[in-house]
Symmetry: C2
Subunit: 189 residues, 2 copies
DNA sequence: CACCTTTATTGATCAAGGTCAACGAATTAC
DNA sequence: GTAATTCGTTGACCTTGATCAATAAAGGTG
């Protein structure tokens, strides 16, 4: 858990002690490839923090999946929208690889927040990071073509591209695998 | 300013006193239709709160504008992305109607934040509201067709639709005015 | 190693929405 | 009231990316 703690401490500018307090309420869980971490339709009452492995968070659009996000080592994974609004999740979270994840429940987090003011500030920072991230993606979806989105992704997220099959990358970019293949043929290699 | 104060107090669950403190640092400004509130390319160092009127916040995509958002009575108006990240704004904010707006600068807000802890919590709430809003729009842009986006908008934001010319609605939905016209012909009237 | 499943590529065709141009209605300006 | 913009509608055509189908390549599994 040390690497995760270090990462969290630096991300939220926490002391070692604070990071330890925060992580003390997490429980380690193991998932196999294709296991479901969170079912669609339920209110999301937990937040995961991935030690090892890879998950995807997907919408279902009349039968086929549209990837909302990926999460791997040191990333949080949750439907934070459902978590905040207390509404049933429109997303499913599933493992793409065998994954080890530390999990905290809503209750534990709230209890922690009552005892430790720094948790409140973490949640503020989290909201801000998520706003910025959503903004970036919305902007890209408003302004960029499929080609531009793909080119940006492979230059900015080569970590993802290396690790994730092309048809999942396509889904994340909201384009079809065939189109990705054609873009690659035309612009790369 | 009373209506605005009331609105802010209820939105952030502030006491009358807190709302007054918050608003004390705002300066009233008047703009005419077509006046620019914030130029593209500059770091956004202010937040407006509209008392009367209507503004649009737009991206420029090779010459033509794509509307990021509208703001009117009781709404905040800013490029909060630029504000938070301290990076030059990719958006321009311009008045669609004559507009009266209360404006606070970054420095004033920071000063206020140092003296009054409740301001910190307001900013946390603001980040959360913006995350949720961005999330909704991203989701819609991932899952919905032009027709679905338009139908949703007219049912959910009839206030906007009544007040804003069709070509601006089109731009907000990231579709062309001709397409809106065709959607209306096919599904409405 | 041979088989089976999953993933990627390619071609042919299709659909959604964009582009361009013309026209008409509505506003605004003089 | 007439001219001049601005805005909305319509038609013809075009582009992007989706769909469908076939095939090839890669990875797993017995």
């Amino acid at each position: 858990m040390d690497k995760v703690r270090e990462h969290i401490a630096s991300l939220f500018k926490l002391s070692e002690g604070q990071a330890s307090i925060f992580l003390s309420e997490f429980t380690r869980k193991e998932f196999k490839k294709n296991d479901i971490f969170m079912e669609s339709g339920k209110i999301c009452n937990k937040i995961g923090l991935i030690e090892r492995g890879l998950m995807k968070c997907v919408f279902n659009k009349n039968g086929d999946e549209i990837i909302f996000e990926f999460a791997f080592e040191n990333n949080f994974i949750s439907d934070y929208y459902s978590f905040l609004t207390n509404t049933p999740s429109a997303k499913e979270i599933r493992c793409i690889e065998d994954t080890t994840v530390y999990v905290i429940t809503r209750e534990s987090l709230e209890r922690l927040g009552r005892d430790h003011p720094f948790i409140e500030s973490m949640s503020g920072q989290m909201n801000q990071m998520l706003f910025l991230k959503m903004h970036d993606r919305l902007k890209s979806s408003l302004l960029d073509s499929a080609v531009e989105r793909y080119i940006k992704l492979i230059s900015e997220r080569s970590d993802l591209v290396q690790r994730i099959p092309q048809y999942l990358i396509a889904s994340y970019l909201n384009i079809k695998p065939e189109t990705v293949s054609r873009i690659r043929k035309k612009y790369i290699i």
